[in-house]
């Protein structure tokens, strides 16, 4: 049996009395792109946020079952959440750079860790910006405010910012939904390039996008993982009626 980089076992999650995730068991393969699709409110974003424990920030969150990263339960009682979050990076729906300079945005994760010297940080910032295909556009104005970038650039900056932590996994929560088509395709291409370096989990509303870039696909409906498998298989012969209906646009 192949060991998955991330594995959830009978994962249940409640916000107060609201049962959001039902017995989700799913594995994520290393250095592949897994896309999570499903109608609004199906729990795909919530599931994504369990992988770096961002749901902890919401009050009255309860969880049962396990989430394993490299075989270790990230919800074990002594787990170091901040360390987990450097290993599992995240990019959000709307570009959200800090109101700081471009350089300081990318350097942020390393700066808070406080164990790198200046030249290490500079090297890593450059590498991350190159990896995010942003370097050529910003190399002359690293000290300008990140707010001066365009929306697509800002989102790539957020990706660079996450990459600077050298993460093993990158979580993308509908990263292109606030962007124009050109910026979107650039980020899609970027994802295909990045999967050589990191495991990517992407939540998307855009079925075509999922088809273009993902290796695996997870279809969620009402908090359940309905179907999971290789993308072309799921797209060509869906096992579940609901998956088929969603993919053909019956609901969404």
């Amino acid at each position: 049996m192949v060991t998955n980089q991330i594995q959830t076992l009978k994962l249940n999650l409640w916000f107060g009395n609201n049962h959001v995730l039902h017995d989700v068991s799913m594995g994520v393969t290393e250095k592949k792109i897994t896309a999570m699709i499903g109608p609004s409110g199906c729990g795909k974003s919530t599931l994504l946020r369990t992988f770096n424990r961002m749901n902890d920030l919401i009050d009255e969150t309860r969880i049962s079952g396990k989430v394993l990263l490299d075989g270790e339960d990230i919800y074990r009682s002594k787990a170091d959440v901040t360390n987990l979050r450097t290993r599992v990076g995240m990019v959000f729906q709307k570009p959200n750079p800090f109101p700081k300079s471009i350089f300081n945005n990318v350097a942020f994760g390393m700066a808070v860790q406080g164990k790198f010297n200046r030249s290490q940080i500079e090297d890593r910032v450059e590498k991350s910006l190159r990896d995010a295909w942003l370097w050529d556009e910003v190399k002359d104005r690293l000290n300008e405010s990140a707010m001066s970038l365009s929306g697509g650039q800002q989102q790539r900056l957020c990706i660079a910012r996450a990459l600077a932590n050298n993460p093993e996994v990158l979580l993308l929560d509908e990263p292109t939904s606030a962007l124009d088509p050109q910026s979107t395709s650039k980020i899609e291409e970027l994802c295909l390039e990045l999967k050589n370096m990191v495991t990517i989990l992407i939540v998307t509303h855009n079925i075509a996008q999922a088809g273009r870039i993902s290796d695996y696909i997870a279809f969620m409906y009402l908090g359940e993982l309905v179907e999971f498998g290789e993308t072309n298989k799921v797209f060509t012969v869906p096992q579940d009626k609901r998956t088929e209906a969603y993919l053909t646009g019956v609901f969404g």
């Binding site: 920030l57 901040t82 979050r85 990076g89 959000f92 800090f98 109101p99 860790q113 996450a162």
Partner: protein
């Protein structure tokens, strides 16, 4: 008929708006009219920088430097008390406390900001000053230290409430992305949230400063009133506001002493006006961004 009503209504509101200008002009005019003539007798630099305040002597001296310094000391002391406590409380309420606690704490802070200053003065005069005298074995509890604490307590709700407003406008996304990058809660607060709310926090401090330097009743009742530059925080002092309030009653309308008190009011007005303009600039820059 209808257009006439429209015009009348517009004229009414227009006139009302002019009253703000009229009132401000009235204030400026009245304090300058009553206060400026003192400069015929005393040179401006002697008035501001002279340190002898003997307004009723045979040969009176009008030097308000000690009063200015008194105001500055007491105000800075108040900010030393209020800034860490007010800002710390605001950050705690906004970033750490549960939503329910926030919902309770916020209105309570706003309520506390409404307490009349004379009650703080009563508390300082009847309770804190004697206590301070005993704790530190001092000749008197009516001093810079006690007034700073009372003024500080008074200013805390202002700073806390306005800083909290500023902090709560920082988008949630910034906090999330900082945490998602592996920063701890403290690092997120110090490196992301507080810097993002910087202008609002500075603004709240400036407003707290304006409130403290213009406060009258507390210093009148608690500062002691020595017209001497205090050499220790346990010495009593005479801020500008308390000099005006205490002495105005004893002057003869229109005499030099009366004029000099109005001149102090001019100085006080200019200080608060400058603070205001500065605050304005700080806030304007924010909205321009």
């Amino acid at each position: 008929m209808n257009t006439y009503k429209e015009k009348l209504f517009k004229a009414l509101t227009y006139t009302a708006s002019l009253f703000v200008i009229i009132f401000l002009f009235g204030i400026i005019y009245s304090i300058f009219r009553e206060g400026l003539p003192i400069l015929k007798v005393v040179k401006l630099q002697d008035f501001i920088f002279g340190s002898a305040w003997y307004p009723t002597h045979e040969i009176p001296e009008f030097g308000i430097w000690t009063l200015i310094i008194g105001s500055v000391y007491v105000t800075l002391g108040a900010l030393v008390v209020a800034l860490p406590l007010g800002l710390g409380s605001a950050v705690y309420i906004s970033e750490v406390a549960s939503p329910r606690m926030r919902e309770i704490a916020k209105p309570i802070i706003e309520l506390l900001a409404a307490i009349p200053s004379v009650i703080y003065g009563l508390f300082g005069m009847a309770f804190l000053a004697p206590a301070v005298r005993q704790w530190f074995n001092l000749p008197t509890g009516l001093n810079v230290f006690t007034s700073s604490i009372i003024l500080g307590i008074m200013v805390i709700p202002i700073i806390a409430s306005m800083s909290e407003d500023a902090l709560s406008t920082v988008p949630k996304a910034l906090r999330e992305s900082s945490l998602a990058l592996g920063a701890t809660k403290w690092e997120t607060i110090v490196r992301v949230v507080v810097p993002a709310a910087k202008r609002g926090i500075i603004g709240s401090t400036l407003i707290g400063f304006g409130r403290a330097i213009g406060e009258t009743m507390v210093v009148l009742m608690v500062a002691g009133g020595s017209a001497k530059i205090p050499s220790s925080i346990f010495h009593s002092t005479r801020p500008m506001t308390s000099a005006i309030a205490a002495e105005m009653g004893e002057t003869v309308v229109g005499d030099l002493h009366y004029q000099s008190l109005f001149a102090i009011a001019i100085v006080l007005f200019l200080i608060t006006f400058a603070t205001n303009i500065f605050t304005e600039i700080v806030f304007l820059k924010r909205s321009a961004r």
